[in-house]
């Protein structure tokens, strides 16, 4: 054996913990190797020095101090128990159940911070209060100036089509104003090339409608860009349909939703008047749509113009259901032809304050 190996064994040799063969090897090696012999002597000396350290006894009052400490600890625990033990005993099962419920709610709220928004008055009204008001494209084109156009369309709408569920969330007093506002907004948006007078007028009207919230739905045949090669169903649609929804809510006052369907894509454009209002509602709205349709949101982006775009992946076999859930979109829009694809990618744009 080499010196290094022998030195490894010296400590155990001192304690007589070596196998006989190892012990023999150490002894044979040390008999001829002065260095390892010295090492063994020094190690032995270390061990004996340590062993010779004077024992330090516990103080005489040690036992008493231990008991005092035990007593103190017990007293402390007794007090803590008294403080925290409830007077009324709750069965363990009930306590466990209550704890579980609280825990589940806490975790759920933590994991779904937007859930609260789903049930706010604003978000409910967006999806639930809908009423289609079909208007012919010609009607719009007849508008000479913005004010006149507005009046014409307003009269036309009032005389020809009445919103169905329009006042579900509105108070009766607000209903009429809201209706006229919607018409104005419609014209203002469609005829915006004629000047901003109407748009300002719309804003003024919004200010007077603190309790009303209005969302416009617009399925677009005519609005759809004609140069879109993929414009299938809607390019042939002779009518342009417009829906108006409304409800109460201090947060959302107005928005215009436009929808374009190209093959497998839908574009929903919310045109609110006040960006600071819709800014707070965009994200909840996205989540409401996704939540209500069980679709998956992907790629939410907002560009420098404030247009928020996001995609919903909707399984093909549930697209009908999707349309029905988004009531302001669904009624008048032809569905895409049956596709072999598993799901439809629906792109939705929310446009903030485009006026």
């Amino acid at each position: 054996m080499k010196c290094a190996e022998i030195k490894e064994l010296l400590s155990a040799y001192i304690d007589a913990m070596l196998e006989p063969a190892e012990k023999q090897a150490v002894e044979t090696h040390c008999a001829t190797c002065p260095e390892c012999r010295k090492e063994l002597a020094e190690l032995t000396s270390v061990v004996s020095h340590i062993a010779s350290l004077k024992p330090i006894d516990a103080p005489v009052d040690f036992t008493q101090k231990v008991h005092e400490r035990i007593e103190r600890r017990s007293e402390f625990e007794r007090i803590m128990k008294k403080i925290f033990t409830p007077r009324m005993k709750l069965p363990l099962e009930v306590a466990g159940m209550l704890t579980s419920v609280v825990l589940v709610i806490t975790v759920y709220r933590f994991m779904h911070p937007m859930e609260k928004a789903y049930y706010s008055p604003m978000t409910e009204q967006v999806l639930e209060v809908t009423a289609p008001i079909p208007i012919s494209k010609n009607t719009l084109r007849n508008t000479g100036d913005s004010t006149q156009g507005f009046k014409n369309v307003r009269q036309r709408i009032l005389s020809e089509q009445k919103p169905l569920n329009i006042s579900r969330f509105s108070q009766e007093g607000v209903k009429k104003d809201t209706l006229s506002f919607k018409e104005e907004a419609y014209v203002g948006e469609k005829e915006k090339t004629q000047g901003k007078g109407v748009s300002r007028g719309m804003r003024d009207e919004y200010k007077g409608m603190n309790a009303a919230a209005t969302v416009y739905g617009d399925s677009v045949g005519g609005i759809a860009p004609q140069d879109s090669a993929g414009n299938l169903a809607f390019s042939r649609a002779p009518e342009q349909h417009r829906w108006v929804t409304e409800g109460n809510g201090a947060m959302s006052k107005a928005a215009d939703i436009q929808l374009v369907k190209y093959k497998t894509q839908l574009y929903v454009i919310l045109l609110p008047v006040k960006s600071e209002i819709i800014q707070t509602n965009v994200i909840p709205l996205i989540h409401v749509i996704a939540h209500k349709t069980t679709a998956q949101i992907t790629n939410t982006t907002t560009d420098s113009r404030g247009i928020t775009t996001f995609f919903l992946n909707v399984p093909t076999n549930t697209i009908q259901e999707f349309m029905q859930k988004i009531k302001f979109i669904a009624p008048k829009i032809p569905l895409p032809a049956p596709s072999l694809t598993q799901s439809e990618s629906i792109s939705i744009q929310i446009v903030i304050n485009p006026l």
Binding site: L43, I50, K54
Partner: protein
Amino acid sequence: MVNETSEPDGELIKRFQQSKQNTPAFDALITRYKNRIFHLCYRFLGNYEEANDSAQETFVKVYRALDTFRFESSFSTWIYRIAVNTCKNKLVSAEYRMRRRTSSIDTPLETSENDCPLEIADEKAQTGRGELEKKEKSAVIQAAIETLPEEQRSIVILRDIQGLSYEEISQITGFNLGTVKSKLARARCALKEKLQRIIS
């Protein structure tokens, strides 16, 4: 003061377990183990007050856990394990580290009931000098032990000071026999380097 009893540990423990308030049985265990545990704590921590605190804490833990002692190991192994863990916890406690930093000046080299006298009477000068040298040597050895890593330190103390077997050390520390052997060898080697002045 409880007199030493020859009653085996197991019997004392059973008596304690039968009646939680059986103070005499517990006191007998304290009396039997207090010096060994105190010495272990002192060599581990190198400070009388800290050792006293840790040793007391060890027995408090024993008192609270003795009910659940199932005789799967010997009581001696069990209490040593508690003591070693208590000392390790003490070493990492902020309070201990703070105190070590601030009290090293006034801590005697080797404190016990006989503190090192500042003046030595003439007739005792010779023995006093020898005593002083011995204490100095002890302090140097103690300081060397304290430089060892925790695991090596506990193994050296258990083996070379408490005189426990490798098997007992293995049970106390949880290391297998080979690890105990190699850690002990490494610890002794390190001490040899630090104590050259004394051993040569």
